[in-house]
Symmetry: C2
Subunit: 590 residues, 2 copies
């Protein structure tokens, strides 16, 4: 579980001691806290497990199955103390998209195989210590993806609220299908669905607030408010039983759930089916990992701890494999349940073991009670849960701060809605990298001058600085590498063209962190061209790492000018006295 305060260096321990080291301090008090958290998480999990199985297009018991043994696997391998793995909205939707086109009879086994493949991919990534790859999924991509997926999930659940059938992987397909089936709306389902949404929404909105007014402690009030879904479920099971909805053919209910623990077997599919599942499994693995790790990191940071992303891969991988061989489908860490666990005071992964136990009891004893629950209520649970995942504010803030990040977020969001949930992360990752690289292609290269009376040199186009015609300085605000090397050649050529009196050009390399072999060729070329125009080439403020590298080439032998330690030194040496004090006519903007 390897969580140490950020301010303390981690002591080196054996792998086993690190994973289970916290057990030494485990005592009755901690256990009580874990038990309370486990009960609360279970209360939240029971309706969620049914709802997400429904969302995935699988029988309700599958949701319960993946809430038992996978939790044990995560406890054994994962690195977060607070993460609750199991069925989640986004991964359920991705599973639904993947298996929707398969024949009805093969969906269960395909979903299980999907979980095993996803798990194996995560395990291999964990063994290869590829956890750092998650850094390539930027925060704007994650938040846009979650908002887009939540919106898509809300639309996908509308059919249950209206009591109609509809399908589709994109927002247009879904809404089109809903629209054409709208005349078949079932009024009973609609009433149940809308009232469930209204109750859940009002409770979510005002219960905690009301309880605080009644002098309940804020944290407790929030927890109670979060538990209400089970109450809503109970009420509607009562109503459904009273009106005998299970026997009517028009209002769809959960229906008979086989009681008992999940079957244990390795699911098998044919080679072509396996190949068809491979790409979705890769995408699910990426999303599951990024999503879980974000949640785990967030909670670890609140507790001033850290998580190990490679162990996170192992934990998630193992729990997905277990989910697959116990008749389940892909799972990941749940944001809502993990947060509840944390606020309820859960301390260790003992919570996970206890929740697994409670869910096993549910599977064996409680399924007959749940069968009368209308699907519209489950849909209402999903919709209200997804409302809180919508975060348009942060998308807007991202847009305001940086256009490139904003475009990435927007593209991710639109890709989820218009192309389907499986394309969002991919689109975001590729676009973010393309825009990042793009921003380095045409580096900012201002001519700089001296801040009067100081040793500071600033952008002559922005600041009121001293410049002169004979010695010019170009500051390069980027590492020089193959993709922008020719741009530097062009920029220097432009400066030369605009400076008929120039005898010396200084390249100020404060922000140049690297000069690769292609950029070195360009510098050689620039040096050669300047030489034939009788202009000397100098460098200033070069980082020592960069300078050392240049010494390995023969470039410095041919350099017409010098390498100065600082820009000031360069100007002291080169700057012709008479031309100083010619102030640029720009004003200081900061």
């Amino acid at each position: 579980m390897e969580e140490s305060s950020t301010t303390l260096p981690k002591p080196r321990k054996s792998a086993l001691a690190r994973q289970w080291g916290w057990l030494r301090g485990y005592n009755g008090r901690v256990f009580t806290e874990d038990l309370v958290a486990a009960i609360i998480v279970t209360i939240l999990l029971v309706p969620q497990s049914l709802a997400y199985a429904l969302l995935a297009g699988l029988p309700p018991q599958v949701g319960i199955y993946v809430s038992i043994f996978p939790l044990l696997a995560y406890a054994a391998f994962g690195s977060s103390r607070y993460l609750n793995v199991g069925p989640t909205a986004v991964i359920s939707l991705m599973t639904a998209v993947c298996i929707a086109t398969l024949p009805e009879g093969t969906r269960l086994v395909s979903a299980a195989v999907l979980a095993v493949i996803t798990g194996v991919i995560l395990l291999v990534a964990g063994i290869l210590k590829a956890g750092f790859l998650m850094n390539f999924v930027s925060r704007p991509v994650v938040s846009a993806y979650i908002t887009g997926a939540a919106l898509l999930i809300i639309f996908s659940q509308l059919k249950h609220i209206f009591g109609i059938t509809a399908s589709g992987n994109t927002v247009f397909a879904l809404l089109g299908d809903i629209k054409s089936n709208l005349p078949n709306t079932n009024k009973a389902a609609l009433w149940i669905g809308l009232s469930a949404i209204a109750i859940l929404w009002l409770i979510k909105r005002y219960l905690a607030y009301g309880l605080v007014k009644l002098h309940v402690k804020s944290r407790k009030a929030k927890l109670i408010a979060r538990m209400t879904p089970i109450l809503v479920v109970a009420i509607f099971i009562g109503i459904s039983a009273y009106f005998g909805l299970a026997d009517r053919s028009d209002v769809r209910v959960v229906g008979r759930i086989p009681a008992g623990l999940p079957p244990l077997n390795v699911p098998m599919v044919s080679m072509p089916e396996f190949k068809a599942l491979l790409v979705p499994a890769i995408v699910i693995a990426i999303v599951a990992f990024v999503d879980s790790t974000s949640t785990a990191q967030e909670l670890a940071a609140r507790a001033r701890g850290r998580i190990d992303s490679n162990k996170e891969l192992l934990g998630l991988g193992a729990s997905n494999v277990v989910a697959g061989i116990t008749g389940g489908y892909p799972i990941n860490g749940s944001m809502s349940r993990s947060a509840v666990n944390f606020s309820a005071g859960g301390q260790t992964q003992i919570v996970g073991l206890l929740v697994a136990g409670f869910m096993a009891l549910t599977a064996v004893f409680l399924t007959p009670i749940l069968q009368a629950l209308p699907l519209a209520v489950l849909a209402a649970l999903i919709i209200v849960a997804c409302f809180s995942l919508l975060d348009f504010r942060s998308l807007w803030r991202t847009w305001v701060y940086s256009r490139a990040d904003g475009i990435t977020a927007l593209a991710t969001f639109l890709a989820v809605l218009l192309l389907g949930v499986q394309w969002g992360v991919l689109a975001g990752v590729v676009l973010a990298m393309a825009l990042h690289i793009n921003s380095t292609l045409q580096p900012h290269m201002p001519l700089v001058g001296r801040f009067p009376g100081t040793e500071h040199y600033r952008d002559a186009a922005r600041f009121n600085v001293e410049t002169n015609d004979v010695v010019k300085t170009l500051r390069i605000d980027e590492s020089l590498y193959y993709a922008n090397a020719r741009f530097l050649e062009d920029k220097v050529a432009q400066v030369v063209a605009e400076s008929p009196n120039m005898t010396d050009l200084v390249l100020m390399c404060t922000a140049v962190n690297r000069i690769d072999a292609s950029a070195l060729s360009s510098l050689e070329e620039i040096n050669k061209r300047l030489k034939s125009a009788d202009i000397r080439l100098h460098f200033s403020d070069m980082q020592s790492r960069v300078k050392e590298r240049l010494f390995r080439s023969s470039f410095l032998d041919r350099l017409t000018g010098q390498i100065f330690l600082s820009q000031h030194e360069a100007m002291e040496e080169l700057g012709p006295e008479p031309d100083w004090n010619q102030l640029s006519d720009h004003v200081d903007i900061h």
Copy 2:
């Protein structure tokens, strides 16, 4: 042809005027120079056109065909004055690889379709102004690719020298096949091939040198030496005719070449065949473009001019389409012939038009003479030409200068030899980008201190500088973006853990050219964590562009410390007097 000196700004003219503007100054003197250059290029091109068609696995006349009309297309659209387009070694080999597996009867039409597709890709790229994409092919990749391809071509021609059959797209496949067929070696072919290689090599090596000794001018001597292939061809045609090799079945000769101009027709293939040619065409388009543009740029730079990479795309695209509809195969700019053109004094693309005319005459009148030429002589021409493309020295220099560039070059080289010529550039481009990104993932972040008596702050681990325990400064030598944001969090956590007395942390942002939305989140996180540890966070030397961006977010409202204009200002304000003068115990290494 838009070539302007690098030191002069380009005047704005209409597209037509720019393309043909040089015609205004065209006169008899320039024409004479162009005519001489055209004759010399044609003398070099005749044997090359046969040899490269042979290399491509196509009938010899195809090499002549692509040396006629495509040159007119390039003259109309291209931007280089000196580039000679037509059949080349590397593109011929790539064509061979692509069509080798097709049935004998369909190869000709497939090669023509390949040229059309390649041309269309290049035209579309040109219209989209995608010329900047060539910047992503770094110089080490280009030079490693050319060396690898030249080596592969040499191996592929050995079969003609031994007079045996052998095939394969990789070095192992080729050498294995040659080895097993070696017992069938044809002694006559071997003698012809080896003696041709020896003669060509000796002439190449010593003729220019000898001529200079005889007081021939150096440039003229080099040109004469370069013309010798036609002499060797003539000698061996004579020998072959004398011994009647064309009638013997054991020594393979060029054979009957249909006389006349190329047929004009749009080649057609079925949809599956088209699809199979698409990916090779993309790779050929990239290589043709990169290779031609490198050559054109090199020659333009020597003449103090420039080329326009988007027009280069149009010129190459048009000439490939024309090559395809005149019974040809993909072509590009030839390094050897363009260089000869340049040294022979060719001034404009009139050379291209004249060469096209001479090649048309060759096609109509000279083919009967060429048919007795032994294939072993053509193979010898290719082998000796490829020897001069081998450039292991520059690979070694790249390796010494930068390990990342060296690894990229080595991978490109090995990919060409072991996987085949079509994989080299792709492997190089992908690896170069991966290594470039990798170099930004874990930025260099040294703690810095003051150079005694100055306002300069340098890496405390490398220089003998003043530091103190209470105010620490971390210099960030990289732009902060999503992929390295978490690394910064970790680094700061590590500094905090090692600095129990620290009250202020300054992040010196001299080399930070960008802070994206993800990095901003990380800075917020760092600020929050430092605050709870009673450490203030400051910034210094931040570029004004970066600072302006931060003002758009609410980060500065929550920042516990300040943003200082310079690091010196920060230390003047924060630095506690008593702890100064505690010199770090490292020595100055520069």
